[in-house]
Amino acid sequence: MTFVLFLSVFLIAACGLIYELIAGTLASYLLGDSVLQFSTVIGSYLFAMGIGSGLSRFLTRGLVARFISIELLVGLVGGFSSALLFLAFAYTQAFRLLLYVLVLAIGVLVGLEIPLLMRILKDRFRFRDLVAHVLTFDYLGALGASLLFPVLLVPHLGLVRSAMLFGLINAGVALWSTFLFRDQLGPIAPLRLACLAVLALLAAGMAEAPRITAAAEDNIYADEVIFARDTRFQRIVLTRWKDDLRLFLSSHLQFSSRDEYRYHEALVHPGLAALSFARRVLVLGGGDGLAVREVLKYPGVESVTLVDLDPEMTRLFSTNPVLVELNAGALASPRVRIINQDAFPWLESTSDVFDFAVLDFPDPTSFSLAKLYTTAFYRLLGRHLSRQGMAVVQSTSPLFARQSYWCIVETLKQAGFRTWPYHVYVPSFGEWGFVLAGSAPYEPPSRLPDGLKFLSARNLPELFQFPNDMLPVQAEPNRLNNQVLVRYYEREWSAIAR
């Protein structure tokens, strides 16, 4: 009997320490700065335990029933603490608030446990023995927990399930106490039912834990997530850090609001400014409306056709105030026509002809995306350009993926285009490449629209100069039946990714 009682002390002590460790670990994992996180979590936890111990003097009657309820509460709150924190981090902005609320709540409850237990046991032992034994097992429990946590729990169970396992232990101690202290309890059935309910909840949580973690971890980006949505086609995530807004499509960075003007000015103006006759412009990809924003700076352009696969993208960039400010309301312009279709079949089905086409597709990371970088696609594109018309292709990095870049140039040549490759430095991407393609001769424009932040007629010709480490290399043209570009791209980017 004595041993069983002190085993309870050992267990609840272990549980208490585990919750504290989990809160500290999670906070340092998600927020960084582990010294700060651990200090503040441990400090507030110990402080809350003090509050709990202080409050214990106000509990006077039905001590055993109170003890059991407290065990159940600790089990519930502690057991679900890490799942709640993960989800709060992924889906809300209240992570810190919830962290300290949970730490304080668990601390207060754990602070109540030992004083209550000592008072329940006070008639069974001499005071001197009681204090000695309870505190001994309390500290032993802490030792057990602190060894178990890094060696077994974190590597094998993970944070979410470890918390739930110890919640189960708390609830187990509660159920067990209904048997141990049967003589000091009133009606036992409701208490046991409550114990079983808590045990069942936690067991269900254990079973669902992998899903919770997956849902939460998908959402963890370095910066604050201000928008996240799974569409039929991709996962759209917007993050913000101070005034830097970033768009990720299926976790690939698309732009950073701090330097996107460099990318989009370089994408549009070297070509379009040279085509004074341009009336009809086609933008493929680029549902963010940022390329369209640049195109609309030409009063001569009468119509812009934007083809983007994902209606959620164009809707988001037509309605969200922050994003509409970024693209200057480009998608609402009466000159813009939005078509939400797959680009290749759409281009096959249309008979429209354009003076300038902007190909702003995601990088050729897969066989399906690289179809949009093939001789077949460029030949089709050629049939939709007017005689003097031109196209510009975003073509990944000529520095990091040199052969991929020159493969795109070679593919355009094979499809019958003359090409003018150029590049620009975009801090959030690095060195980035573009290719102008057309059948008529081309000279860099001497006049550009007013108010550009990056490009000027003076620095524009320099973009066409390639330093030694980006000079052309031999590459096969990318065809639908070889898709060499996917292999080049995979090899080159995996060589520099860490």
Partner: protein, 506 residues
């Protein structure tokens, strides 16, 4: 007592409902059935059942029997020679034969033949057809019809590898034997005996008197990987194992072609695309639903009987499978030498794609050590960059048994048996396949393709059949012993030429 029963069962239901929520999800139901069964009609012809007497008689110079590639090619050739006095009789509701296709809300898909190898310079007829269809242009082969990358992959030792020649864990011995095999094949290719169409190059050869498996043994090519690969090729092209195929035919598969571009040529509906394009031009000659049940000489003419019409023709091009001849044609030469392999083709509708590590499905996806031939993805040739639903065409040649035993198995087992067999087979490479498939339709073909056994190719029986019976010309590809698009087209065109010669001579 009686009154308690409802209470008991409702409690059981309640508990059941409560527990169901906790059990793992059960498999989703899969719809589907056998489709386009042709054996009932075939058995009526075999058993010489009674057919209705036709109500009208039509005199017409040429009747083509059978609307597969051979029959359509005969029609194509007659038409382009400016001869338009003919009909093509097809017993099914749609022409196409082994190039038939289907279509659902996701994509068209093939029911049998699904590609044509890129023809080399010498394949004039095929090139002429493809020029006409816009597949071959001045600038070369249209990229959209060449099989997109990645073309093939093989599931071996728990992972997918590029290409179907087994490479994962291949030993130096395996690789040395691959090399030696390739060298032997290159020698055969240079020899000029293995051509498409076969008739132009084939000469009597000792290779036809030994099986492919026996030839491999004679060459001391015993690598298990190489033997699997050769067996796969024999199952794929002839529906038979390497020990049931003449070495001449087995080698022909590897040595007959020297493509000038990376192919093959393929379309979502397989060779059904070619049929579609041919029909767009030739549909006015085609009478579908015309079951020819009797062909007999009548004076200098031939009587061709269907239930609707009696045709009196000067010449008949018999492009239907030749094994039907004894049941239909009076005085037909014996066809006992012809053996056909039974096949099963299934089209699986996937409204979700299975999870993939790596680059995802190729066009042709093969499982090592599976009795099936794997599956082909119908949306592979789609120009779209986002595909979230698809159709897989799954091929299974019943090659292990004798053709008769295979046919019995094919007809005896019910749809549920084959459905389970297919899902279990695919489940080895795609554990979540049952969560993705919503429908499986199955086509059973008792005589899917000719099986060129030992001694068949250069036998007198085959050469007699390739001749003619008066003004009746056999045109099916089975006369070549090779069930190939090019052979069917060649036989059809050749029969059409001979019919024209005959008519011109009169």
């Amino acid at each position: 007592m009686e009154r308690h029963r409802p209470l008991k069962s409702s409690r059981r239901q309640f508990l059941g409902a409560a527990i169901v929520g906790l059990v793992p999800k059960t498999d989703r139901p899969v719809a589907g059935s056998f489709v386009h069964d042709s054996h009932p009609l075939g058995h009526r012809l075999r058993d010489r059942a009674a057919f209705q007497r036709p109500r009208q008689t039509l005199k017409i110079p040429v009747v083509i029997v059978g609307g597969g590639i051979a029959g359509l090619s005969a029609a194509w050739h007659l038409d382009r020679r400016g001869f338009r006095d003919f009909v093509l009789l097809e017993m099914e509701a749609h022409a196409g034969g082994n190039s038939r296709w289907g279509e659902n809300e996701i994509t068209p898909y093939p029911w049998a033949a699904h590609y044509v190898p890129v023809p080399d310079k010498g394949a004039t007829l095929v090139r002429e057809l493809f020029q006409e269809l816009g597949v071959l242009t001045a600038g070369g082969w249209d990229e959209r019809y060449l099989c997109f990358a990645p073309q093939e992959r093989l599931y071996l030792h728990g992972r997918w590898q590029d290409g179907i020649e087994p490479a994962v864990a291949a030993t130096t011995r395996d690789r040395e034997q691959y090399r030696r095999f390739q060298q032997l094949i290159a020698g055969f290719r240079a020899g000029g005996q293995f051509t498409v169409p076969m008739e132009t190059g084939a000469r009597p050869s000792p290779l036809d008197r030994v099986s492919m498996a026996g030839w491999l043994r004679d060459q001391r090519l015993d690598s298990p990987y190489l033997n699997w690969y050769v067996n796969y090729a024999c199952r794929d092209d002839y529906g038979a194992m390497a020990d049931g195929v003449s070495a001449w035919a087995g080698i022909h598969y590897f040595a007959s072609r020297d493509p000038e571009d990376k192919g093959p040529l393929t379309w979502p509906e397989g060779n059904g695309w070619i049929v579609r394009r041919l029909l767009a031009k030739l549909n006015r000659f085609v009478r579908t639903g015309s079951v020819v049940h009797h062909i007999a000489p009548q004076g200098r003419r031939w009587r061709v009987l269907t239930e609707q019409t009696e045709y009196l023709a000067d010449a008949v091009i018999f492009a239907a499978p030749t094994y039907l001849a004894p049941y239909l044609i009076e005085g037909a030469p014996p066809t006992a030498a012809l053996e056909y392999s039974p096949w099963l083709t299934a089209n699986l509708t996937l409204d979700r794609l299975p999870r993939e590590r790596g680059s995802g499905p190729a066009w042709d996806n093969v499982l090592y050590d599976s009795p099936s031939l794997g599956y082909v993805v119908a949306t592979h040739q789609s120009l779209r960059s986002h595909i979230d639903r698809t159709v897989w065409t799954y091929y299974w040649a019943l090659a292990e048994d004798t053709p008769a035993a295979g046919r019995r198995r094919l007809l005896e087992r019910d749809w549920a048996y084959w459905k389970e067999a297919i899902l279990n087979d695919l489940g080895r490479a795609h554990p979540d396949i049952r969560a993705c498939v919503s429908r499986i339709d199955i086509l059973r073909l008792g005589h899917a393709m000719i099986r060129p056994g030992v001694g068949f190719l250069l036998s007198d029986a085959r050469r007699r059949l390739a001749g003619r019976v008066g003004a009746l010309f056999f045109a099916n590809s089975d006369l070549s012993g090779l069930s190939l698009f090019e052979e069917a087209q060649y036989r059809g065109v050749k029969a059409a030429d001979r019919a024209l010669q005959l008519l011109g001579g009169r």
